[in-house]
């Protein structure tokens, strides 16, 4: 259990009064998962975007009231919106139809997964739709609950549950189609 999880109310109160230790704790807690989420979803500068997201949190912290789960959702709502903004901006540039169509320096994520995951499993994952991968990234990398993910996506819990079930089933079925035994 992290400091933020254990003493969220105190950390939030201190963050609202501008205590550096509280912001250090919040950065420790969220910078990794937010960067991971943005990176996995193809953001062009995940670290830079994470900084923007958390500074936005600092700018708006006075207006926040709620528990740890609400806070976590709020942070990822901002991250998700920034990601959508970036996708839309890039999609309007001539010749750019997909944010991660041809990332500079190759597909870092795929290279990192080599050796950790069977190639067929990774290929099946890459075949998922954007929406399915958004949900799985928020759940697995962001560490969000079903309810928190639903808040971030602006959907009902049942809808998120159905999307993740279909995503996992699709990966499984693709493995079967490929005749893979793992």
């Amino acid at each position: 259990v992290s400091l933020v999880e254990e003493t969220f109310e105190s950390v939030l109160e201190a963050a609202k009064t501008g205590e550096e230790w509280a912001w250090a704790a919040l950065y420790h807690e969220y910078a990794g998962p937010v960067t991971g989420y943005l990176s996995s979803r193809g953001a062009s500068d995940p670290e830079g975007l994470t900084g923007d997201v958390l500074l936005k949190v600092a700018r708006s912290i006075h207006s926040f009231s709620g528990d740890l789960s609400s806070f976590r959702s709020w942070v990822f709502v901002i991250a998700h919106r920034r990601l959508i903004d970036e996708r839309r901006t890039l999609s309007r540039r001539p010749g750019v139809s997909e944010l991660v169509a041809d990332p500079p320096g190759g597909d870092v994520e795929s290279e990192a997964m080599e050796g950790l995951v069977a190639a067929e499993l990774w290929r099946a994952f890459k075949r998922l739709t954007d929406g399915q991968r958004d949900v799985l990234a928020l759940r697995i990398i962001g560490g969000l609950t079903l309810e928190e993910t639903a808040r971030v996506m602006g959907k009902k819990v049942g809808a998120v549950k159905a999307v993740q079930r279909r995503a996992l089933q699709a990966i499984h079925d693709n493995l079967d189609l490929d005749g893979v035994t793992i």
Binding site: P33, I84, D85, Q169
Partner: protein, 278 residues
Amino acid sequence: MSDFDVYESEMPKSTFSDSDIERLLSGNTPADEGLARLAPLVEGLRTIHSSLPPEEEVAVFSVEAASLVKSTRPHGPVPAASEKPVSRPRRFNLGLKRRLATFSTAGILLAGMTGIAVASNGAAPGDALYGLDRALEAVGIANGAAAERIAEAQALFASGQVAEAVTHAAEAADDIEESGADEAVDALLETADRLRSNENGSDHAVEVRSRVAAMLEYIATTEDTGRDFGQGVADMARGISGADDELESADAGGDEAGEDSGPPDSLPDPADSRPGRP
């Protein structure tokens, strides 16, 4: 069509149970052998995307964030750490005042909010739009001088004329007092939370509530101003009207999965709202 718009009846049936899926996604071994085959993928994703920020990065951020908080803090000096914390600090949000003022003076709202009027007429305002009247009331509370106009707005809302009601409230907000702007922000966000957490009623009602909630959050938190803000609200209001149409179609075809078609365009597109664009 987004992933959230596909109904379960149109998809191949999954053999995985929800509890097993939760086990997998939380890093535990699921009972189902087929699902267990995916565990290395979950573990791999978690491994390659988990990292701790360098200490110097944390230090730089914490100084900048703390300074930002102090500079944007509401009225009054920062209390010493030993002081008893204020349970709900006052905020000063001139941005909301400006945005709400733009709301009315730009004249964009009325056209945009037509969608809400349509939605409310078809979805019983007292159910689907529960809470919106409270948000209007809160904007009114923040602006005692315009109480009469707010009363008119609430009367319009009660009679189902939501578009006109919101326009009245926005006009009243032109004179909003700085000290009350934070109350309006609170009210908008709290209303949005209430709307989202209420999953009662038909899918239609839930959908409309979800989209209205997204719009209220946008109004309360966006940094857009001027024409961008007006266009953003208009876009989202049109999305509410769209939800009305989509869900009527979906209801006709049944909704076995209980899925939410959601607000795919609930966020205004900055590129669409640049000055000079229609």
